[in-house]
């Protein structure tokens, strides 16, 4: 509605707080609600504020002894009405209309009650305004999305740290252990082969020795046979000589010759006997050696390769360990069949699904973080610019500049560039800063909201400051409503209009 065609706003309250029934009319410009203490000035503002949003009102908004109440506003030729009802549980339910310019942020930017955001903050000495600006600039939607994404990422992160995933992550280690077992098995197999080969070589060596000895023995036995035959022949020869000697005259030359033959034959026999004896001894020795070798062969054959049994046992154990390790690996790659979320599923599949989700959520977080940063930076700049303009135009003594830094912390600079902590400001200065910050917030985020309401906060102001600030606000807002204390002790609230 253009300022020159603005109409009066009529507010009607019924059973609101301590007010049974009240009708007030606000005109464009400054409206001062005058009333004594505890006569319902703050209630009027709280009641009026109910029309700015569809938020659930506090239960004390309705008169404590009443079950129903009503707020009605005449604005721009129409009537907007909200009815309040107390439920058996004591809650208050509101039904009905909102004003056409309603905005839930208005309570924080356009209604300066002692309990509202900025006033409460500044008077409490707090200098952090991130949340305040987040709410007004809708940056809180982005931060809610960012927090939700982050929460989901954390939740997925916690899932990935669960025991099944930990077992899965240990698979490379299990594979290393399995490989190590394979290598140990190969080593044992190699030792077994080596032992068998050595044993076979040893047996073959003994067999070869036996063969060689047998061959030598055969030759020596043949030699002995020959010697024995030779001895028999010599004996026969001697016997023949003896027979011949008997037939021959003893003194004859033939007899002498035969006797030499007999002597020679006896000598030969003696030599052959000695040779037989030596040969027999040699054969005995060979037989003994052969027997030793055969015994050795039998023993070796019976004993088998050295340490083979032990090696076989080791091999058997290793094979069992390999099977167990393979089973461990097999178990590690799947969720247990009774897992409540992923029964029997492959961990690698679930893991990549979760990682994809995390990746997507990180993108979402990054996207909204960028949006949030842009929005908040822009909001802070516009807010600071409106605050600076207000201070400049008001020309309030003592203040150089008031602004929010990039961490949304409020800085109050005195003339001469001296920074003063918020908590050390005087009560009226805190109030002035609160009003200017609220007005800056309204102009930045709710430029079309036609009302600005100040509740009794200006009591500590001197008349000059009061009027300077009120006139400044009045120039910027179609309807300025201020509550003020009257000197009388009784009476209903009434509105004094200052165009």
């Amino acid at each position: 509605m253009p300022p020159d065609t603005q109409e009066n706003i009529i507010l009607e309250l019924e059973n609101i707080g301590c007010l049974k029934r009240l009708r007030l009319e606000f005109k464009p410009g400054l409206n001062i609600i005058k009333a004594p203490n505890a006569s319902g000035k703050t209630t009027i503002i709280r009641g009026f504020s109910c029309m700015f949003s569809d938020r659930i009102p506090p239960s004390h908004i309705l008169a404590l002894d009443e079950l129903n109440g009503r707020i009605r506003v005449h604005y721009d030729g129409k009537i907007y009405e909200k009815t309040l009802r107390r439920t058996p549980s004591g809650q208050v339910i509101a039904q009905g209309d909102m004003l056409p310019f309603a905005d839930p942020r208005a309570f924080n930017a356009c209604v300066a009650l002692a309990e509202t955001g900025v006033v409460h903050k500044i008077t409490g000495g707090s200098a952090f305004f991130r949340k305040y600006l987040e709410e007004l600039s809708y940056g809180n939607y982005y931060s809610a999305l960012i927090n939700t994404s982050q929460e989901l990422i954390n939740e997925y992160g916690r899932k990935l740290a669960g025991p099944t995933f930990r077992n899965f992550e240990a698979l490379p280690l299990l594979l290393t252990e399995l490989t190590d077992l394979h290598m140990r098995r190969e080593e044992i197999q190699r030792k077994i082969e080596e032992s068998r080969f050595n044993h076979e070589a040893k047996l073959q060596d003994i067999r070869n020795q036996i063969e060689r000895k047998s061959s030598v023995l055969s030759k020596e036995e043949a030699q002995l046979s020959q010697l024995t035959r030779n001895l028999s022949l010599e004996k026969e020869k001697e016997e023949q000589f003896q027979e011949l000697l008997k037939l021959t005259e003893e003194s004859s030359e033939i007899a002498s010759s035969i006797k030499r033959g007999i002597t020679s034959s006896k000598e030969n026999q003696e030599r052959i006997r000695k040779e037989i004896e030596t040969q027999t001894q040699l054969i005995e020795k060979l037989k003994k050696d052969l027997q030793v070798l055969r015994d050795s062969l039998r023993r070796e054959e019976q004993a088998g390769p050295t340490a083979l049994e032990d090696l076989k046992r080791q091999l058997e154990n290793l094979n069992k360990m390999i099977i167990l390790k393979e089973e461990e690996i097999q178990r590690a790659e799947r969720f247990p069949p009774d897992d409540p979320e992923y029964p029997g599923r492959l961990v690698v599949d679930v893991r990549s699904e979760i990682l994809r989700k995390i990746e997507w959520l990180e993108k979402v977080t990054g996207y909204f973080q960028e949006k949030y940063m842009r929005r908040m930076t822009s909001a802070r700049r516009r807010f600071n610019s409106n605050v600076t303009r207000a201070f400049r135009e008001l020309g309030l003594k003592g203040f150089g500049n008031v602004f929010l830094d990039q961490d949304f912390m409020l800085h109050v600079m005195r003339e001469g560039g001296i920074r003063q902590p918020v908590e050390t400001l005087s009560a009226s200065e805190k109030l002035t800063i609160s009003l200017i910050l609220m007005l800056a917030a309204k102009e930045t985020f709710l430029p079309d909201f036609p009302l600005f309401i100040v509740d009794e906060l200006t009591l500590s102001y001197d008349p000059d400051r009061f009027w300077r600030i009120m006139n400044y606000i009045k120039r910027r807002v179609p309807y300025l409503i201020v509550t003020s204390l009257t000197s009388s002790l009784t009476g209903n609230p009434e509105v004094i209009h200052r165009p």
Partner: protein, 129 residues
């Protein structure tokens, strides 16, 4: 032990272990002890490790080749010094004691260089480079 030798042995062992792990992985798949997706996931990690080790070994082999060339030059120089020493001896320009002393030093250096060169060549042969 030379630093190249230590690195070469360590990397060869690591590479052998990685290849054996790959073989163990193949066996698990063949025996149906592992699903293909898990196999592929682990194989990817192993192949990355093998590639990294092979790249490291290639870089090491390059350094070893450079060291081998340096040793060849060194051997050539020592041999030239030895020949020079012999000429000085024939020309009676050095006394016997100096000759023996220098010859011993040069021969020892030559042998050490040849041993190291042989070790490098054998190591490079092993990896087919």
């Amino acid at each position: 032990m030379s630093s190249w030798k230590r690195s070469f042995e360590s990397i060869s062992q690591e590479l052998e272990m990685a290849n054996r792990k790959k073989q163990a992985l193949e066996d698990l798949l063949a025996k149906n002890r592992m699903s293909r997706p898990t196999y592929e996931h682990l194989l990817k990690g192993l192949e990355e490790e093998i590639s990294r080790l092979e790249a490291h070994r290639r870089s090491l082999a390059k350094n070893m080749t450079e060291r081998a060339n340096e040793l060849r030059r060194q051997i050539g120089l020592i041999e030239m010094f030895l020949a020079n020493l012999e000429l000085h001896r024939i020309g009676r320009e050095v006394d016997e004691e100096t000759y023996n002393h220098q010859r011993e030093i040069l021969t020892r250096g030559l042998e050490a260089s040849k041993v190291e060169l042989r070790q490098i060549e054998n190591a490079l042969d092993k990896i087919g480079m």
